[in-house]
Symmetry: C2
Subunit: 336 residues, 2 copies
C-alpha cells in the first residue's frame, strides 16, 4: 500500500486564479486500464513497469492498473493479465509499492466476482477500488462499494455513459450513492460527447449531492471531439478534484485526456512533466501503430451522435478502408 506523503500537501499555495493551485486535486493515471481496452490488456511487463515508475517520478497520485474482471466471464487464457489484476501479477511490477503513488483497479458491476477476487486491503498492495456501473446496475454497485470499503479500500464510483442517462434517473442514482461508503463520485463521458456547458452543469449537479455528504467529484473524459482536456479543465474549475488522464491519451477509441496536457496546466510543484514525456517517447508512442488510439474523424462522428465508439473502432481496425470517412459517416446516418 502506498506510503503517505504529506509534505507536498502542507506547502499549500492558497490563492485564486491559475497562477496558484488547488492542493486537493488528485491526478489518476488510467493509461494501462483504459488503454488495455485496445489490446485486451496484454501489455509487456516493461511497459507497465515504465508507466508505474513514471507515475512515481511525475508526482501522479494514483495509477490504475486494469480490471478485476470475472475469470468465469473473461477466460484468463484469452486476455492479458491486466484484465484480472491478480495480486501476484501486480507485485511482480511494484513489489510492496514503497512509494507515495497509490494503486487502483476498476471493477465492473455484473462483470466482477468481487466477493472472492478482491482481497482484504491488508493482504493487497492495492489502495483503491473503482466501481464502474451503468445506471441500471446501481444496486449492485452499492454492494460492491460496501464490499470494497469494508475490506479497507478507498472507493470511487464511475457512473458510465452519463450522456445517455435521463435527468430523473441520474438524480435518483446520486441520491443513493451519497448514502453509500463511496469517497468519490465520477462524471464519466464514455462516448466523448459532452460540451463544456454540459460538463459544467453536470459537475455542479454532482457536487450539489456529493459535497454535503463529504464526498468528492471526479471526471473521466474521452477525446472523440477533441474536448477531453478542455472538459477536464472545465470540471476542475467547477470543483472536481479527481482528474483522470493517460499518457499520450492512451485509452479506448479516441483515448482519454492527455496527462502531458494536464501537467502543463496544473501548477502544483510536485507534478513533473519530463518523466511523462520520456515514457511517452520510449514506451507509449511505439505502440501507436498497433493500438491505434487517438482522435480521428470516425470517433468524432460517434461522439457527436452520442453513441458507443464500437462501430468506429471496428472501422479503424480495417486498414484497407480506414481512410473512407465519408462511407463511415453515411453508415452512421443510415443507422439513425
Amino acid at each position: 500500500m502506498a506510503q503517505e506523503n504529506k509534505s507536498a500537501e502542507t506547502k499549500q499555495v492558497k490563492k485564486d486564479g491559475w497562477i496558484a493551485y488547488r492542493p486537493e486535486i488528485k491526478l489518476v493515471d488510467c493509461t494501462v486500464r483504459d488503454g488495455g481496452l485496445m489490446n485486451d490488456h496484454a501489455f509487456d511487463d516493461k511497459v507497465i513497469k515504465a508507466v508505474y515508475e513514471t507515475c512515481v517520478e511525475a508526482g501522479i497520485d494514483y495509477m490504475e492498473l486494469g480490471y478485476k474482471s470475472s475469470k468465469k466471464i473473461y477466460a484468463p487464457d484469452q486476455f492479458g493479465c491486466w484484465k484480472h489484476c491478480d495480486e501476484d501479477d501486480i507485485r511482480r511490477i511494484v513489489a510492496d509499492n514503497p512509494t507515495p503513488l497509490k494503486l487502483a483497479v476498476m471493477a465492473d458491476a455484473e462483470r466482477t466476482d468481487y466477493h472472492e477476487d478482491i482481497l482484504p486491503a491488508d493482504k493487497s498492495v492495492l489502495d483503491m477500488i473503482r466501481v464502474a456501473t451503468y445506471i441500471h446496475q446501481i444496486p449492485e454497485a452499492l454492494d460492491m462499494i460496501k464490499d470494497a470499503h469494508d475490506k479497507g479500500y478507498e472507493t470511487t464510483v464511475n457512473i458510465m455513459a452519463a450522456s445517455t442517462v435521463r435527468e430523473k434517473e441520474l438524480n435518483d442514482a446520486l441520491e443513493l450513492l451519497v448514502t453509500s461508503e463511496v469517497r468519490v463520485i465520477y462524471l464519466v463521458d464514455s462516448f466523448g460527447s459532452f460540451y463544456s456547458e454540459q460538463v459544467r452543469s453536470l459537475v455542479d449537479k454532482y457536487l450539489s449531492y456529493a459535497k454535503p455528504a463529504g464526498k468528492e467529484v471526479g471526471i473521466h473524459t474521452h477525446n472523440n471531439q477533441q474536448l477531453a482536456y478542455a472538459n477536464t479543465i472545465e470540471a476542475l474549475i467547477a470543483g472536481a478534484n479527481y482528474l483522470d488522464a493517460s499518457l499520450a491519451g492512451l485509452g479506448r477509441g479516441a483515448g482519454n485526456c492527455q496527462m502531458e496536457l494536464m501537467l502543463g496546466f496544473l501548477h502544483n510543484p510536485k507534478f513533473k512533466i519530463r518523466p511523462v514525456l520520456k515514457c511517452i517517447q520510449d514506451h507509449i508512442e511505439p505502440m501507436r501503430e498497433k493500438l491505434r488510439w487517438g482522435f480521428d474523424i470516425p470517433y468524432m462522428i460517434t461522439g457527436n451522435l452520442n453513441q458507443h465508439p464500437r462501430s468506429a473502432m471496428k472501422f479503424m481496425a480495417d486498414s484497407s478502408n480506414r481512410k473512407n470517412i465519408v462511407a463511415f459517416f453515411d453508415s452512421m446516418i443510415e443507422e439513425e
Copy 2:
C-alpha cells in the same frame, strides 16, 4: 463578388441553449491561407478548387484564399501564387464567384503594398480584406483598414499574438480600432497558448469595445494544446460571431480549429458536414505526410510556454529526430 443569399437568415430559430442556433454566426474557412504557411502557399489548383466548392456546398460564409503579400519582399518565383493572390489567379478558380460564399484575403501590416496591390472592390472578385497586425503596427493597420474600406471591401483586423500583449497596450489598440472603419475585430491565439478562462475574459473585453461601436468580434485559434475547438466554442458562447476554422485543421504548426468539429457543434441547418468530410478525405488528408500540420507534443510545449511555434516546426521538419520529444523539451527549457 458573392451573391447575397438572405433566405437562410430569415428562417431564424430564436431560443437559448445549444439546441437552437445564432444566425449571426459566420464561419470563415482559412484552410488555404493558414495551411499555406506549411507549403509556401504552393497548392495545386485542384485543391483550391475543391476547397472552394466544399465551402459553397457546406454553407460556409467566407473562404480565405491566401495573402496579398508584397512582391518586393516575397519574390513571386519563390512562393506559390496564394502568397500574392493576384486577381487572375483567383478568377482561374472561382470565375466571377456566382455563389453566396464570400472571398477574403489576408494583408499583413508592413508586408503588403496595399495601395497598389489591392484593387478597387468593383474590379475584384474579393469581398473582404483581413488586416493582420502586431500590436506595434496598429497605426499602419488603421491606414490599411481605411484603404480597403474606401475601396469598397468588408474589413476585419486581426491583432496577432494577443497572448503576449500587455493589458494596457491591448486596451489602447482596441480604443483606436473602434474609431476605424473596421467591421470585425479578431482575438487571435497565434501561439495556441490560451485557456478557456482567458478566452472568455478577452472576448468580453473585445466585445466591451466593439459592441458600442457597432462592430463584431471574431476568434482565430491554434491547436497547440488541443484547445482550438474548445476555445472557439468558448468565444462563441461569450458572443464572438466570426469563427475561423479549417478543413482537418490545416494550418501553421498544430493547425487551427477543425471545421468538421465546428460543423458538428453549429446547428444552423444551412451548414452541411458531409462535403467537408469528402474534401478532407480526397484532398486534405493526402497532404498530411508532406505538410505535417496538426497537434503534436513539440507544438504543445511551445504553446504551453506562450512562444512562437517556429522552433517546433523546425524540429518536426527533421524526420530523423522528430520522435525525440524529450530533447526538444530540454532545448526549450534551456532557452528560457
